[in-house]
């Protein structure tokens, strides 16, 4: 018997992103299969966040293609709002809507994008808050929640639309150290539930234990990619070694 091969759900093909003369992305090719956690590491300015933001077209790549579940999302006339529904994004600074409760944050897109009734949206929203362990905070406003709780609400907000892929842009970088764990726990749970995830982060220990692929980027290029054991324990490229040595100190 052959093992069932998971299908690639995200294909990035020769992606370039230029700001004037500055090459934020310089020919990136990447593939993620359903249920995999891809972990992007690299020095700041290496293009990790830019890559992530191209994947839901918050940035428009200069050239190259991105296929999500076989569909080219870099096409000119594509309906971005439809595409983005299928791709959840979590930001470094949470970006919760401060004028809405946790429940309001999680249900807004359900009601205004998917057109669900308030009741239906709240059922889904509360279930997602339950998933991140915050159903008892549903009626709290963001400023009444800790940073870790806010980020978990932001994850629930993205999950509510049942995305095919979740993108995490340094989800724990703005958190106090003691709050990082609760967010990583939620992410680990997501991974176990089979979510496809692309994560930009500096949490190397999390990467070692949860990632399927680790991608090391520098200057807009992928320097080295492979399973965590290879990247962390036996990096081939000199740059990777130097970066990891820095990161460990």
């Amino acid at each position: 018997m052959f093992p069932v091969q998971p299908l690639p759900i995200l294909n990035v093909e020769d992606l370039h992103l230029h700001y004037g003369d500055m090459k934020a992305l310089d020919g990136v090719t990447l593939e993620a299969k359903t249920g995999e956690l891809t972990f992007l590491i690299g020095p700041s300015g290496s293009g990790k966040s830019s890559l992530l933001r191209c994947c839901n077209r918050l940035e428009d790549p200069s050239s190259g293609r991105i296929l999500v579940d076989g569909e080219d999302i870099t096409q000119r006339n594509i309906n971005l709002n439809r595409i983005r529904r299928g791709i959840g994004m979590v930001f470094q600074s949470f970006n919760l809507y401060p004028h809405m409760t946790a429940k309001g944050n999680v249900t807004l897109a359900l009601r205004k994008v998917l057109g669900k009734s308030r009741k239906e949206a709240e059922e889904i929203g509360l279930a997602q808050l339950e998933r991140v362990g915050l159903v008892d905070r549903a009626d709290h406003y963001p400023n009444q929640l800790s940073g870790g709780q806010q980020q978990r609400v932001a994850i629930a907000r993205a999950l509510a639309l049942e995305p095919k892929i979740m993108l995490f842009d340094e989800p724990t970088s703005a958190l106090d150290p003691e709050l990082v764990g609760e967010v990583l726990k939620v992410m680990r749970q997501l991974k176990e539930d089979g979510m496809t995830m692309v994560v930009v982060s500096h949490e190397m220990r999390f990467a070692k234990s949860a990632a399927d692929h680790v991608v090391f980027m520098a200057e807009g290029k992928i320097v080295e990619a492979g399973p965590p054991a290879q990247i962390f324990d036996a990096p081939r490229a000199e740059r990777t070694r130097a970066f990891l040595q820095e990161a460990h100190h």
Partner: protein, 227 residues
Amino acid sequence: MTRSERFIDTFFKYDVMQQYWPDILKGLFVTCQIAVLVVVCGLALGLCLAILRSYRFRLVNLCIIVFIDLLRALPPLVLILILYFGLPNVGVSLSGYVVLWLVLTLVLAAFAEEIFWAGILSVPQGQWQAARSTGMSYFKTLIYVVLPQAIRMTIAPLTNRTIAITKNTALGMVIGVGELLNQATTAQSFAGNATPLMMATIAYLILFIPVVYAGRRIEQAYAWRKR
């Protein structure tokens, strides 16, 4: 006549009050009416212009900026006189009431646009990105995410500006609108006594103090604690 008697006789003469209070009341009603129309139309137009401006169409924005800068620079009285005395010469006759309403609405819209626009700009980019990343359109993001935050930040300057411009309804006097001040000055010249002016003063206070107070309350209610 003692000094205090003379004072009361000049500003609070009972007979004059009794005779002219219906006129003052009529004026107050007209002032209220124009004020409400100006506030509603001016704020609505200002908000629409700010929304339009956020789409950043070059030519449209240029027009908006020219419009608001002109209206903010000119004294409202100049515009009122031009429209009331100038337009009939080119075949457009507007009543004093309409001219007053139109000019004050446009002036308020110009100031309100600038305030709303500053509010929209002050909402962090992350709010836009978060909303857009959930598939919300530009317009929906503006309506449900950005404007509710922007408007909260603008309540204080907006209230001040609204009161300042609404008080200009008194300019209606020079083009014969039967508003409060006009009624009062007419009554004053008939009676040969300043009591009607004092009555108008009190009427203005009755009209605007609650607005000032309401503005402060709204401001406090919406000033949600910053993170």
